[in-house]
Symmetry: none
Subunit: 187 residues, 2 copies
Amino acid sequence: MGRRKLEIKRIESKSNRQMSFCKRSKGLMKKAKAISILCDVDVAVVIISNRGKLHEFSSTNSLTGILQRYETHVEAEIQAAEHSKYSSMTTGELLEETERQLEKTNADGLTVTDLIHLENELQTSLIQIRARKTHLMLESVKALHEKEKLLRKEKKHLEKNRARMKKNRKVNEMSDLPPQRVTLSFF
Amino acid sequence: MGRRKLEIKRIESKSNRQMSFCKRSKGLMKKAKAISILCDVDVAVVIISNRGKLHEFSSTNSLTGILQRYETHVEAEIQAAEHSKYSSMTTGELLEETERQLEKTNADGLTVTDLIHLENELQTSLIQIRARKTHLMLESVKALHEKEKLLRKEKKHLEKNRARMKKNRKVNEMSDLPPQRVTLSFF
DNA sequence: TGGACTATGTATAAATA
DNA sequence: TTATTTATACATAGTCC
């Protein structure tokens, strides 16, 4: 959308392509943000430039949340597809076949059942880890607050001490001076 | 971009919000496609509407490719940031280590940093596991499709055979009839 | 519900600094 | 390189059907 109409095909000039990417990726992220706010939806955008650099936008804190929901959707679709496409089989045939498929080991030696189990375990661990992390971070913050208080107190004391020492030094300097100098200094 | 300037905040009117979502999501996908072609980059967009419906665009055949590369990036960043004993572990070892770590609740050895790292590793494993699971389930579906085709063929054959047998039975019945009945039947 | 219209706001290609 | 400017193309909010 500039001085002239642009055909949608790879921009051959490297510098133009780079500039276009810079502008358009910003624009895309802005629009993604706008739709997420205006329409109250979750949006994730991932761009991987040809130099391998990653650019991302996510309406929530982390992409992973949205991506997990994407995975869930895919799984649901698969199940829906299974349901509709194989309605011609009898229930018995379908069950047998599904079980056979599920138990058939793959290259990793892990069945879908194994994977689901593993997934659950990982999920549980993740939740525990996150709870523990949050707890520790809260404690850290508390501890830091305490530390801060102590430091403030110390600082106050030090300032008081310094003020006192300064005063004392002045007095000492005066008393350390030779009498004649002291006398002179009075004139 | 319309008759008037629009403030970027949730559109309260439901119908307006819905219409805006429809237009803007189309626009977003179009722009995503444009940048992917013009600038020769991989782009993935996932939108989950508040009613839970999924909309997506991906410059490659499947989102998973881009998302895996996203995960790879995240992992690479983590590994670049801090070298850890965890990153070289398999999922199983990771789980074991996590459980071991969680058991010694009082130990001071487990810092927040450790926990964040563990969390990231678990997250990565979880995503890998889910991708693998999805992949396997897709394969199952494919296999079931093949099976369905075969079953349909068999069914067809069986129906043909049954039709032929029926016909043969009729012919036999006819030939069993007395000659005068047969003759009459022609008028 | 789903286009089609159109006035207006936005995005951006190219030029410039 | 990155920022600013300008001229245009593009997107879309409100509207009608």
